[in-house]
């Protein structure tokens, strides 16, 4: 199921003034896997996602998508090459309908009519077909997060970065999204997910990368990460391991 690296990070670094948000981050993402990215608040997970899609210009390092350097490419180029993300703080086009939000993503590879039809399919996949005509700004937070997923799916990515899309979902909704992510992996999509709910991450992910203060702490299988002393100390604490 998993295979050769589709995304390779080499020495990725990013400073915000005096703060080293990312320091020399190096790891590979394998084609078709679900990779979990964990770390305490402020570890740099969101910053790493923004750097990968081109929203932050990195200070040093290289990012290869399918062997192609994307570290200095504009976000729309990166999206065209097949890498996109959702926004942790939710960045929908608030005045537009849910369908039109998703349609924008579909325009990357389709005309308006094609994008509209495809947007409907994407909304159905995240379970929001019923609210396609609602104004995005009027939705609840969990609904908005799922619209983010649908909009990202509409770009037909090869690699999708999901930043806490399950935060604030209830059990049933979480189960639905987990099932969807497994299904997407089955279709060949590569996923990197950031989630705070450790049980979900451990159950869903093939491998896990742990960050702390912008630095790579450990990579490995969920079981290895759960046992890793540095990770346990930095993040998981008694809560999970106990």
């Amino acid at each position: 199921m998993t295979g050769d690296p589709i995304l390779s990070l080499r020495g990725v670094s990013k400073r915000f003034g005096g703060l080293q948000a990312l320091g020399d981050v190096t790891f590979d993402v394998r084609r078709g896997e679900i990779l979990g990215l964990i770390g305490p608040n402020g570890a740099g997970k969101t910053t790493l996602f923004s750097a990968l899609v081109g929203l932050h210009r990195i200070d040093a390092g290289s990012i290869l998508l399918d062997g192609r350097e994307i570290a200095r490419a504009a976000p729309h180029r990166v999206a065209a090459l097949g890498l996109t993300k959702t926004f942790q703080n939710v960045a929908l086009f608030a005045d537009a309908s849910v369908l039109d939000n998703v349609l924008i993503g579909g325009l990357l590879r389709r005309d308006v009519a094609g994008a509209r039809a495809f947007a409907g399919e994407c909304l159905a996949r995240v379970g929001l077909a019923g609210i396609a005509e609602k104004k995005a700004g009027d939705l609840s937070f969990p609904e908005r997060a799922r619209v983010e997923v649908a909009r990202a799916l509409a770009t037909e990515p090869k690699v999708l970065l999901l930043d806490e899309v399950m935060a604030a979902l209830n059990h049933a909704e979480t189960a639905e999204i987990v099932a969807l992510l497994r299904q997407l992996r089955g279709e060949g999509l590569t996923l990197i997910i950031v989630e705070h709910h450790m049980k979900t991450v451990m159950a869903l992910c093939d491998r896990i990368v742990a960050l702390s203060f912008g630095r790579l702490l450990a990579t490995g299988s969920p079981a290895e990460i759960a046992r890793h002393p540095d990770v346990v100390a930095a993040y998981l604490g008694r809560e999970y391991v106990g």
């Binding site: 976000p75 729309h76 960045a91 929908l92 349609l103 924008i104």
Partner: protein, 323 residues
């Protein structure tokens, strides 16, 4: 477009076509309505940038003046038909818009407004100073050669009335086509969240650039209409911030930014209001007309903050919402 709206548009167009039958072809009223159409078209071209991209340009006079001077200078020096001059002006207007769009597109809100305002003023100063080319503050006269369709030269206002009406329809059609196209969706996305738009594949810079070029080119072409209608203009009239840039922005804002009907409604209210204020008040106390005009504008904006177009929408929603 839904059926009642299409019907209303057709009826309005028929009324506009028939209106001159009841007006003196040389008179004042037909001239005012012609200006309503012309300024409605100008506000509509502003609406592509101001409404769809939501960039508050206060420098559209730069393109308008460029168009007026281009076609008129080509006519004066080379006898070129203003219809062709209008195309040349459109190309130059689009190029100027691209030139000013590139450095300003990343500016937000107030800074974009100020930068474009400055650009318009620079063009006005250049037109005033470069007397060798433009004639300077003295202005330019269109050679009088009535009546020639090829030279876009008519003594009566009536032909200008229909040309301005056609221009309003065409620019509105362009606006609607853009709004419904992929470009319209992209502009909307860029307007609401540039980062999110980029991340899902929208080239925000190119999207804004195309909108600016279309808007600038249309505005420049309308400059030719103004020159041929007035037979005379100077830098302050066509490059001025108050008479052009701010006025077209105001028309669109009062009417309803980002809607196709907004600039038309805005022009229908503002142009006659200005004329009335000038007619009835300027003889009484100097400056009173401007004062009254300002008061009325403030009142409209306070009562209807989303423009007159939202009146109709509210009414439509109310009806549909009724049990």
């Amino acid at each position: 477009m839904n059926r009642p709206l299409a019907l209303a548009a057709v009826l309005a167009l028929l009324a506009a076509l028939a209106l001159p039958l009841g007006l003196d072809p040389q008179g004042y009223a037909i001239r005012v309505v012609t200006l309503v159409f012309l300024f409605g078209a100008m506000a509509q071209s502003w609406n592509v940038v101001g409404g769809l991209a939501n960039q508050m340009s206060l420098g559209h006079a730069a393109f308008f003046g460029l168009g007026a001077y281009t076609s008129t200078l080509l006519l004066v020096h080379f006898g070129l038909s203003p219809w062709l001059g209008m195309l040349a002006g459109g190309v130059l207007g689009g190029a100027a818009a691209a030139l000013i769009s590139l450095p300003t597109m990343r500016l937000s809100g107030h800074y974009f407004a100020l930068a474009t305002l400055a650009f318009g003023e620079v063009m006005r100063v250049v037109a005033n100073s470069w007397s060798g080319l433009t004639g300077g503050p003295v202005g330019l006269s269109v050679p009088f050669a009535p009546d020639s369709l090829w030279l876009f030269n008519f003594k009566a206002t009536l032909p200008h009335y229909y040309i301005a009406l056609a221009a309003l329809c065409l620019v509105t059609a362009v606006f609607v086509a853009i709004k419904r196209s992929a470009l319209g969706y992209r502009l909307r996305a860029v307007r609401e969240n540039g980062d999110a738009a980029e991340v899902v594949g929208v080239n925000t810079a190119r999207t804004k650039l195309i909108a600016a070029v279309v808007s600038g080119a249309l505005m420049a072409m309308l400059g030719t209409l103004f020159a041929q209608l007035n037979f005379f203009f100077d830098p302050d009239t066509v490059f001025g911030a108050a008479p052009v840039s701010i006025r077209v922005a105001l028309i669109a804002i009062v009417g309803g930014v980002g809607t196709a009907i907004g600039p038309i409604l805005g022009a229908l209210v503002i142009i006659p209001l200005e004329e009335a204020a000038n007619l009835f008040l300027s003889s009484q106390v100097a400056g009173l007309s401007g004062f009254a005009y300002g008061l009325i504008l403030i009142a409209v904006i306070l009562v209807q903050p989303h423009g007159l177009a939202s009146l109709g929408r509210r009414w439509g929603r109310g009806r549909r919402g009724a049990p």
